[in-house]
């Protein structure tokens, strides 16, 4: 008996096993090398050793990456968010309408031009936060499935974006607003968001609660976690990050359109799932999602590099998403068998 307790005391301090993200990283390396080899064979040039291609690739995925970070914590909590793309559209419109320059005669709010950049950003973020909180409140307090609640928000927010200017685009932002989308700034914003969320999920009570609710909501309630309140927070944060992505998209395009961000929600979910975030909740990490995002980017830019038709790209994207979910189900099965 004594030996058992000694063992327990002794093993408690041992290190974690190899992180599960390692597998996904290997997949990324495999795909990259495949493109590299195909590049030399078909194009006679390197795929990877091209800084310009790589920076464009990262830039392309980092906006959706911001959303994917928010979606990651939603999926870990056992939910799903279909409204991200529409929130991007709605917040892009609203933020841009408060970011126009005074010299543009047909500004949406002629009295409210040349505002400091903090105003459109803050308004956009608050709108996203509210949209997300509504999602969360619907899910937590009316007990409707996340799929339905966020589907409702997806349609409503898109409708709002169209109604806001009766379908007209909004353009001519101030220089300081436009700077948010210039060059590699979106990548920088993504990195900051990713680092913060990584720390939050790993080291804070917010993160612990999120994993607990995803792993077993009932058990979470019995251990004293206010599951409803925390659910609202999780979706509000997801909404906030979608809004941030919306602001960046508008700034980068120097214009906002009601249709912005369409299908972003699916790409974001795909990045998370490819990155090993389990749709059954409780498993996954920001690091995984980041790798998933890069895999996503590599595949898109790889096919462009190989001059493959855009239609093939889209079809293949669908296959990859399904493959990632199949991999998740397979991992799940293996676990069940072992137990």
């Amino acid at each position: 008996m004594n030996t058992i307790s000694q063992q327990a005391a002794a093993v408690a301090t041992t290190k974690r096993k190899l992180p599960s993200e390692l597998n996904i990283l290997l997949v990324l390396i495999g795909i990259s090398l495949t493109f590299e080899i195909l590049g030399w064979i078909l194009q006679g040039q390197s795929f990877l050793l091209n800084p310009q291609r790589l920076s464009i690739m990262i830039l392309q995925v980092s906006v959706i990456g911001i959303i994917a970070i928010g979606v990651t914590q939603v999926i870990i909590s056992g939910g799903i968010d279909l409204s991200s793309g529409s929130i991007v559209g709605a917040t892009a419109m609203i933020a841009m309408s408060f970011a126009q320059i005074g010299t543009f005669e047909r500004a949406l709010y002629p009295g409210l031009t040349d505002l400091p950049v903090i105003v459109p950003v803050a308004i956009g973020l608050i709108v996203g936060l509210i949209c997300g909180a509504i999602n969360g409140a619907l899910i937590a307090y009316t007990r409707i499935p996340p799929f339905i609640a966020t589907l409702g928000m997806m349609v409503t927010a898109r409708g709002f974006a169209k109604w806001y200017t009766k379908g007209q685009p909004i353009s001519f932002p101030t220089d300081s607003f436009a700077a948010l989308g210039k060059g590699m700034t979106p990548v920088l914003i993504f990195l900051v968001v990713a680092v913060i969320m990584h720390v939050v999920l790993r080291y804070t009570r917010y993160g612990k609660f999120t994993y607990a609710i995803g792993a077993n909501a009932h058990a979470a309630r019995v251990t004293g976690i206010d599951v409803e309140r925390h659910t609202v927070k999780i979706y509000a944060v997801a909404g906030l990050l979608s809004a941030l992505a919306g602001i960046v998209v508008a700034a980068r395009g120097l214009t906002a359109q009601a249709g912005m961000g369409q299908m972003y929600e699916l790409d974001a979910i795909a990045m998370a799932v490819i990155g090993g975030v389990s749709l059954s909740g409780g498993r996954g990490s920001v690091l995984g999602t980041c790798i998933g995002m890069v895999i996503f980017g590599v595949i898109i830019s790889g096919f462009t590099f190989l001059r493959l038709d855009a239609y093939y790209q889209e079809m293949l994207k669908g296959l990859i998403i399904v493959a990632a979910v199949v991999a998740d189900v397979y991992r799940q099965k293996k676990r069940v068998k072992k137990a």
Partner: protein, 512 residues
């Protein structure tokens, strides 16, 4: 007249059955990544007998069963059915060869009727090729009358009790003319009377020559129903005996490989002041006028049959589903408890009945599971958890409770039931409770872990913790409690003191 050749062939088969029994497994080996679940295991089941499989959790019983039921394929070894080697490719394949399994988690389709569940894939058709519901109901009634069941074939399965669902599963197995029936802890969710009914059915099946493989943790069931038993330990075959030849202690020794000196190590300890008082707690339609008091250092056993709503009372006390009316006093002060968080603020802790459904975070590691209750109350600064302190506390508690795990980062799904239960107890002990509510603290865990948990509960009481312990196992209630409260259909039907309580008195109050 049969030809001499046929006669000798029949004789050969009969001889094989004589040696082999109905079902024989030889040299079975099954390996999972990192675990050798079964190592050169054997089993022989005679026709018309009940054969119990015994062993601690993780001994390999479930894996062996799943091999017999066609869910797993063995890595090595031979399975012979009536003397003929067979391969069982899938559960359906096994079923068609006459092997049926009644799962612990019942596998019926809740939104279909009893008849539809039984005859699925084999529905009788009318002349248009459509399902003949009248005929199907008739066939079901016929089947039920053979088994002495009184259920309406048209009832939706979701409306049945667990016991009734089990009966339906058994009826379905019988409808396949199964020769081998595997039952995995069939009584774990049944009331005493339902168990009797089940045993009557089992005896009837046995009389008809069916071989029944019966998995159980309950020793008295073994002696009551089993003819033979086989013990496994750590994936190895230990031995097969006739149940009438052995004693309870013999079996326990075979299972654990060591002596269990005292199953219920109740220490008498001083009982202090009243800490919890409950007055007329009621949820209309669920339970009514529940009143009792609990003292420091006291273990109050809460007995009752399934359906007596014991767990609902516990959930109300802990604020999971608060009561509609009535009063709760802690330290003689009236309190309102409308959420688990408030209950915890008053020093309460609640080990729930179903560790998989409402206890463990199976996908998370041991550390997260142990610390989850504590971090809702303390060890958090500006949102950040104090992981260093928490890890130390969790490691100490895990060591104290002898949780067997390679390390604290092991995913809880991979642990045995007993260790999962210890983790949950560790979770609550870290919150330093004054009032501990335990709902079936040792259900479905092996003998060794069971007695360790019993010792632990007694130890806590000795330290002055007030314990309310719900249990369906009468020996446990009798062995552990200072006082016993018995419930019947949502009402308190009586209290018994340790000195004058016995099984008969408890059952008398519980069954009324």
């Amino acid at each position: 007249m049969v030809s001499p050749a046929t006669a000798s062939a029949i004789k050969q088969v009969l001889e094989k059955i004589e040696i082999d029994g109905l079902l024989a497994l030889e040299g079975i080996r099954k390996e999972f990544p990192g675990v050798l679940a079964l190592d050169n295991v054997q089993l022989r089941v005679r026709p018309g007998s009940v054969h119990a499989l015994m062993g601690e959790n993780g001994a390999g019983k479930s894996t062996l069963m799943k091999i017999i039921a066609g869910i797993y394929q063995p890595d090595a070894g031979e399975i012979r059915l009536r003397g003929e080697p067979v391969t069982l490719k899938s559960p359906l394949d096994a079923l068609e060869q006459g092997i049926a399994m009644i799962h612990q988690e019942l596998q019926l389709m809740n939104w279909m009727t009893i008849a539809e569940n039984i005859w699925i894939r084999r529905e009788p058709r009318n002349r248009f090729g459509l399902i003949d519901h009248g005929k199907m109901a008739e066939m079901t009634r016929e089947l039920f009358s053979r088994l002495n069941l009184s259920l309406d074939p048209g009832t939706q399965v979701s409306e049945l009790t667990v016991a009734q669902k089990q009966m339906v599963e058994i009826a379905r197995a019988v409808s396949y003319e199964s020769r081998i029936l595997i039952m995995d802890e069939p009584t774990s969710a049944l009331t005493e009377r339902e168990v009797e009914h089940l045993f009557a059915i089992i005896r009837d099946l046995r009389a008809r020559g069916i071989g029944i493989i019966y998995i159980t943790h309950k020793m008295n069931e073994l002696f009551e129903i089993a003819d033979e038993f086989t013990v496994f330990r750590d994936g190895k075959y230990i031995g097969t005996h006739a149940s009438k030849d052995v004693t309870r202690d013999d079996i326990i020794r075979m299972m654990v490989g060591r002596e269990i000196t005292n199953m219920f190590p109740k220490i008498d300890c001083p009982i202090g002041d009243v800490i919890l008082e409950v007055n007329k707690l009621t949820i209309p339609g669920v339970f009514h006028d529940i009143s009792f008091s609990l003292r420091r250092g006291e273990i109050l056993g809460l007995a009752g049959l399934v359906g007596s709503k014991r767990s609902n009372v516990a959930e109300a006390l802990f604020g999971v589903n608060p009561a509609a009316s009535g009063q709760i006093l802690i330290d003689n002060k009236a309190v309102t408890i409308s959420s688990p968080n408030e209950a915890m603020a008053h020093g309460m802790a609640f080990l729930t009945e179903d560790r998989k459904e409402t206890g463990c975070f199976l996908a998370l590691d041991c550390l997260e599971n142990i610390q989850s209750a504590l971090i809702t109350r303390s060890h958090v600064k500006a949102g950040f958890v104090d992981q260093k302190t928490l890890t130390r506390l969790a490691a100490d508690m895990a060591a104290k409770l002898r949780v067997k795990t390679p390390n604290l980062h092991e995913i809880v799904e991979n642990l045995s039931g007993g260790n999962q239960q210890k983790l949950l107890i560790a979770r609550w002990l870290l919150t330093k409770p004054r009032i501990l509510i335990l709902d079936e603290p040792t259900r479905g865990i092996d003998v060794g872990a069971k007695s360790e948990i019993h010792r632990l509960i007694t130890g806590l009481a000795a330290e002055g913790v007030a314990v309310l312990m719900i249990s369906s196992e009468l020996p446990e209630v009798l062995g552990m409690s200072d006082r016993i409260m018995v419930m019947h259909e949502g009402r308190v039907s009586g209290f018994l003191d340790r000195a004058d309580a016995d099984q008969v008195k408890i059952m008398d109050l519980a069954a009324r």
